[in-house]
């Protein structure tokens, strides 16, 4: 009996990922405000639309924050329904700092739901005043909604949950490819046909994961970036890397001699991996990309990930990697059986 625990573990983890990933609610968010540019000294009625909000269910306090020390509070809040309200702001005649299109952060604190925040909701123009009169509204006693919620992001909305399905596919694909590199090198050193079978099965499952990664990414792109395919650098470089590995599979099937096939494909696999690293990890960081974490900064730190997302994201990587290894082990067992069958026929003949 082979050790089965990690196979069961992968199923349990993936069930956890799907249930947690789909059932956890999003934090309330603000989708739009009716006015973008405001002037100091004016009085504005601003219509605000929320997503997943419960404006009508409890008291709301609304602020516009200029920076950490200056904010103004809405004079009046008129709630239309759970997702719509009108907030009336009286902007003081002068701003505490010289403001030319300075961004204002809109904060709505709801008694039962806690805060909904929209950064750069509006932009203010005004001349600098000495004291910052009227900008001293304290943002305090912010409510907390108990339990776990995923962050709300404009444009992303609910598709933030794709973080647990699209990205882990690529992570586990990369882990499988690292493993295949190990076996390719091992084959070239020791020339055991078993290592060649291990490497090729790992790559076949990795390519399957890569194709799923591209397809899921394409669907995600349609609903956030507006099109199934963009000229985004990471997307296209990942596709090139995938095609290199697809060529590996085709190359293998074109060579009938077992030892030659093993040697050539091991060498090709090492080359393909060396091409993969700059294509996926280096080039996208040198230019701008729509993907988070490119054009310089790492993706997993900073504002793109939150701890609530990590609670599901990391298990998803582990679960999908184990699932991929399980698939690989099935393919390997099949290939080894066929190998034995061929050997038996040769010996009998």
């Amino acid at each position: 009996m082979r050790s089965m625990w990690w196979k069961y573990l992968s199923i349990i983890i993936l069930i956890y990922v799907v249930i947690m990933g789909l059932s956890t609610p999003l934090k309330p968010g603000i989708t739009s405000v009716s006015k973008l540019n405001v002037k100091a000294g004016s009085m504005e009625n601003i219509q605000i639309e929320g997503y997943n909000t419960r404006f009508a269910d409890a008291d709301n306090r609304v602020w516009l924050k200029l920076n950490d020390s200056y904010a103004i509070r809405a004079r009046q809040v008129a709630v239309a329904d759970n997702n719509r309200m009108t907030a009336t702001f009286k902007f003081p005649a002068e701003t505490p700092i010289s403001a030319k299109n300075a961004p204002l952060t809109l904060i709505i604190d709801n008694e039962v739901q806690g805060p909904a925040i929209m950064p750069s909701a509006m932009f203010i123009n005004g001349t600098e005043g000495k004291s910052g009169d009227g900008w001293k509204a304290p943002i305090d006693k912010i409510h907390d909604l108990p339990g776990i919620q995923f962050p709300y992001r404009n444009i992303l909305n609910e598709t933030i949950r794709n973080t647990f399905f699209h990205i882990p596919l690529w992570f586990s694909m990369f882990i499988l490819l690292v493993a295949s590199l190990w076996y390719s090198v091992k084959y070239l050193r020791k020339q055991h046909i078993k290592d060649d079978i291990y490497a090729s099965c790992l790559i076949r499952v990795a390519v399957l994961f890569g194709v799923m990664g591209i397809t899921t990414g394409s669907i995600w792109a349609r609903f956030t970036w507006g099109t199934f395919w963009t000229d985004d650098i990471k997307l296209n470089m990942a596709t090139v890397a995938m095609l290199i590995y697809v060529a590996y599979i085709i190359l293998r099937s074109s060579i009938s001699d077992v030892d030659r096939r093993a040697k050539i494909s091991a060498g090709y696999a090492i080359f393909a991996f060396i091409a993969l690293v700059p294509l996926v990890f280096v080039i996208p960081r040198l230019t701008d990309s729509l993907h988070p974490g490119n054009g310089g900064n790492p993706a997993l730190g900073g504002e793109d990930m939150e701890n609530t997302l990590r609670m599901v994201f990391y298990p998803a990587i582990i679960g999908l990697t184990f699932l991929g290894l399980w698939f690989t082990s099935l393919l390997i067992r099949y290939e080894l059986l066929q190998e034995r069958l061929i050997d038996d026929t040769l010996n009998e003949g």
Binding site: R161, L341, D344
Partner: protein, 73 residues
């Protein structure tokens, strides 16, 4: 066996794509409704299809292997 199933899968995929292209407005609107939650479901379905494709391929390979073993005996 393997050669029989691949065209079937391709046909179904092509039909799905062409029908969704014709009704793209409707399908896209549906997938994008309620905070785009159905596009997440579409992503999960794609992963399940990938797993299903792998299982079907393996199934056919094993059937072939079984036949070979039976013929040898």
């Amino acid at each position: 066996m393997k050669n029989k199933i691949t065209p079937i899968i391709l046909t179904i995929t092509a039909l799905f794509i062409s029908s969704s292209a014709r009704a793209e407005g409707g399908v896209i609107d549906f997938l994008g409704s309620i905070g785009k939650i159905y596009s997440v479901i579409a992503v999960i379905v794609v992963i399940l299809l990938g797993i299903g494709y792998f299982l079907i391929r393996l199934d056919h390979k094993l059937t072939k292997l079984e036949k070979q073993i039976n013929n040898n005996e």
